[in-house]
């Protein structure tokens, strides 16, 4: 095994930091993601401050659907952390159950979102219709892209659990994917009130 392989295949814990490369990397990634979504929230606030009138979310958006979606995403956050717990406890069957549930919930979130978007399009409401809808579609759209990214990562881990269950990096990867998925959940926790409830 060359030393490069050693770098890639063994969890490397920094001497000074006590965290693995994977964990440090994912937190740094989340740091940049915080900046990304903060920019969108800043934009939202500024557009709202600069407008003489702004619609209340419930007049335009479907609050029950949004609430349902919030609950779906929160539940998926629990299942993904359960999947991580099972990976640490080395219970492959339960890990796959919870990871599968997480993916299913993520898909459910997207389907509900799709129904909402579809209803808007049917009613002739497009991103170009108003600045509020522009913000709504852009923010939820970018969030949905992040959900899709998370779904892909989680699916890959589900497939990899077949062959790489004992890979030394596996648990670290599950943890990193979980951290990312929680972040996506947190973004929605802020998006939901900002768009639907205010």
């Amino acid at each position: 095994m060359t030393s490069e392989a050693a770098v890639m295949d063994v969890p490397h814990v920094g001497a000074g930091t006590g965290v693995t490369n994977a964990k440090l990397g994912i937190w740094l990634f989340l740091a940049s993601e915080i900046m990304l979504f903060s920019t969108l929230f800043t934009t939202y606030i500024i557009l709202r401050l600069g407008s003489s009138s702004w619609p209340r979310g419930w007049n335009v958006l479907n609050v029950p659907m949004g609430t349902l979606n919030t609950l779906v995403l929160i539940t998926s956050s629990v299942t993904v952390v359960m999947a991580y717990a099972k990976a640490v406890e080395r219970k492959r069957g339960q890990f796959r159950l919870f990871m599968g549930l997480t993916i299913a919930l993520g898909v459910a979130f997207l389907i509900i979102k799709g129904f909402e978007w579809g209803a808007h399009f049917k009613a002739g409401e497009f991103p170009s219709s108003s600045i509020f809808l522009a913000a709504y579609f852009t923010m939820t759209g970018l969030h949905a892209l992040h959900v899709i990214g998370g779904l892909i990562t989680n699916s890959i881990l589900l497939v990899l659990s077949e062959k790489q269950w004992d890979h030394p990096l596996f648990v670290g990867r599950v943890e990193a994917a979980g951290l990312y998925w929680h972040f996506v959940d947190i973004v929605w926790i802020f998006l939901f009130p900002a768009l639907y409830l205010l």
């Binding site: 965290v19 003489s52 619609p55 609950l71 952390v81 219709s129 108003s130 943890e175 947190i186």
Partner: protein, 121 residues
């Protein structure tokens, strides 16, 4: 590749130790807070209190996720450091443009922004 796995070290430096019972408790709290914030919104408070209520609930919810699901509550200092740096810059990202928008409101002749419903229908 070695057959042994390093998970004996779970909870020490490598990975955070899971706590299933706690996760369920947090789940309950999150679901409750979600319903609470929706219920508050149905009162149709004026914007000021509405924003205050919604933002504080969102902050509590996200803190619960960050602290317990993401295990920030017993994380290494380096992670706190990263987040502190981000918090510093996020603060200015919000404050700078916001301050400017408020200060220049007099320079923007009131532009009629139709509400989404009016525009669409």
């Amino acid at each position: 590749m070695t057959a042994e796995t390093p998970h004996a070290a779970a909870g020490h430096g490598g990975h955070a130790a899971p706590n299933v019972k706690l996760y369920m408790l947090i789940f309950g709290a999150l679901a409750f807070l979600t319903l609470l914030t929706v219920l508050i919104s149905y009162i149709h408070l004026p914007p000021g209190p509405a924003i205050a209520a919604a933002i504080s609930i969102a902050v509590i919810k996200s803190s619960l996720v960050v602290l317990f699901f993401m295990h920030l509550i017993n994380e290494r200092p380096i992670i706190y450091g990263i987040l502190a740096v981000v918090a510093f810059f996020v603060l200015f990202l919000y404050l700078g443009p916001m301050a400017d928008t408020i200060a220049t409101s007099g320079r923007r002749p009131a532009q009629s922004v139709p509400t989404a419903v009016e525009a669409a229908r």
